[in-house]
């Protein structure tokens, strides 16, 4: 395990945080295990790839993917999920179905080849960090993860919408009984979570590349992050992402044949002692 691999772990953690933060917001407030979150990530990546390739602007790719996936999120929440609210199994099955549909549509439109979102020249090349030369783009990924964490923290703690979301995670029925239209909060949260999946898709699409089944891989990692961190907790998602990111690096380097076990073994052990995750609360 050297510094380069450690940095890789931290960088991967930053990407995981971006994706998992949206996942945990939706899980925490709406109580929906959105198994289409990975598909939204992949679709966001494809959107970003197409827009960035067409326009030549990586930034436009990010904005377009976030807006497109946010819109997709609104349609999913307002058009489908609202009809199965309160029915956990139906919600899960519905999101699995949506994931299948998105994947197949993506296969029809973009085919089965692997794509990499083109990044601007300024993010090419490497910077020296201590004794190692590290790709600039990966430093950008880390910075993006930190920025998303800070912005989300500000949103959740310094804005009324954020306070309402946190209150809703604690007790959605009471939020409604206090005169707040919880449906609107649900919609905003779903929009935000979906936009974060889209952002993750573009950033990850330039880092891990895009291909069919990339959604399932990121989804499994996100699930681990959220389960470790605890439902609805941003600090939990950050720590969970760091653990999973670093364990993934360790696993790949030191026990390549046991790479998944290195992540899910400790996760299972943690759950044995803290069934609700590090920061999880019972309802």
């Amino acid at each position: 395990m050297n510094l380069f691999q450690l940095l890789n772990g931290v960088t991967f953690a930053a990407l995981l945080f971006i994706v998992a933060s949206g996942f945990t917001l939706i899980f925490g407030l709406l109580r929906i295990v959105n198994l289409a979150h990975g598909a939204l990530y992949l679709l966001g990546g494809y959107f970003g790839y197409s827009i960035a390739s067409w326009s030549g602007s990586f930034a436009l790719g990010i904005v377009g993917a976030m807006a497109g996936i946010a819109l997709f999120g609104i349609l999913l929440e307002g058009g489908l999920l609202r009809f199965v609210r309160g029915h956990e199994l139906r919600q899960v099955l519905l999101t699995v179905g949506v994931a299948f549909v998105i994947n197949d549509m993506a296969l029809v439109i973009w085919g089965g080849d692997s794509f990499t979102v083109p990044v601007p020249d300024t993010l090419m090349g490497a910077v020296q960090i201590g004794p190692v030369f590290y790709p600039k783009y990966r430093v950008f990924v880390f910075g993006a993860g930190v920025a998303v964490f800070l912005l989300l923290w500000l949103l959740m703690n310094k804005t009324r919408l954020g306070v309402m979301i946190r209150a809703g995670v604690d007790d959605a029925e009471m939020v409604e009984a206090c005169g707040i239209n919880i449906r609107r909060i649900y919609l905003w949260t779903f929009l935000l979570g979906a936009a974060l999946a889209g952002l993750g898709g573009v950033i990850g699409g330039a880092y891990l590349s895009l291909y069919p089944t990339a959604d399932a891989e990121i989804l499994v990692f996100s699930l681990a992050v959220v389960i470790i961190g605890g439902r609805g907790s941003l600090p939990g998602a950050a720590i969970g992402a760091l653990m999973v990111g670093l364990l993934n690096s360790v696993g790949q380097v030191m026990f390549p044949e046991l790479a998944y076990f290195v992540i899910f073994g400790p996760m299972a052990a943690l759950l044995a002692f803290r069934p609700l995750g590090l920061f999880g609360k019972s309802v």
């Binding site: 946190r166 007790d171 409604e176 009984a177």
Partner: protein, 235 residues
Amino acid sequence: MLEVKDLHSYYGDAHVLHGATLEVNKGEIVALLGRNGMGKTTLIRSIMGLTPPTVRAGEVKWNGETISGLKPHEIASRRIAIVPQGRRLFSSLTVTEHLTMLKSPRVKEGWTIERIFDAFKRLGERRNHRGSQLSGGERGMLAVARALIQDPDLILMDEPSEGLAPVMVQRLEEVIIDLGKTGLGILLVEQNLYSALDAASRVYIMETGKVVHSGTTAALKADMSVVEKFLGVHG
């Protein structure tokens, strides 16, 4: 004024309210008494539009408008607030956030945050503590404050004194009486009979989903046989 007419509410197939009827006039404190499991909380939830239970017959009117069937936030926006059973504070929100979430600190009308902290000094001192870090009395006060900040005309209070030390029950009773003097209507569900009788001007007693007695507090105090009959308390 609040009018509940012949309300039938169900939890699934279980028929819990069998035609409950009551009224709360403007600015009146009315106590709703009854043993556990008689439907008091079900009635409060039905008035507030909270589901479950589901209301299958009868209606709730508020200032002449039928509000049964509306969503809880629509009912709340008609100036009906609730202090629910068990308080149900938001455990991850600070005292201040409980209030700013519902009313911007910039609003200077009605119950402002300053006015709340003035009325409940203890909450002001604990303003940066989270709901989960408060003592029982402070939690009770915050639950009342969370209702007040919505500038209600009517508060539905479901056992606000539950789990409080006697001195806090006394303090809460004073708060309720003071609020009643400001013209606020209160429907007070209480296990603590004497506290309820001190605060309320009229009393309803529920048994098995029906209102079986209604009258003034004075009449009830004069003839405690009703209390003995329905509440099993010896006056």
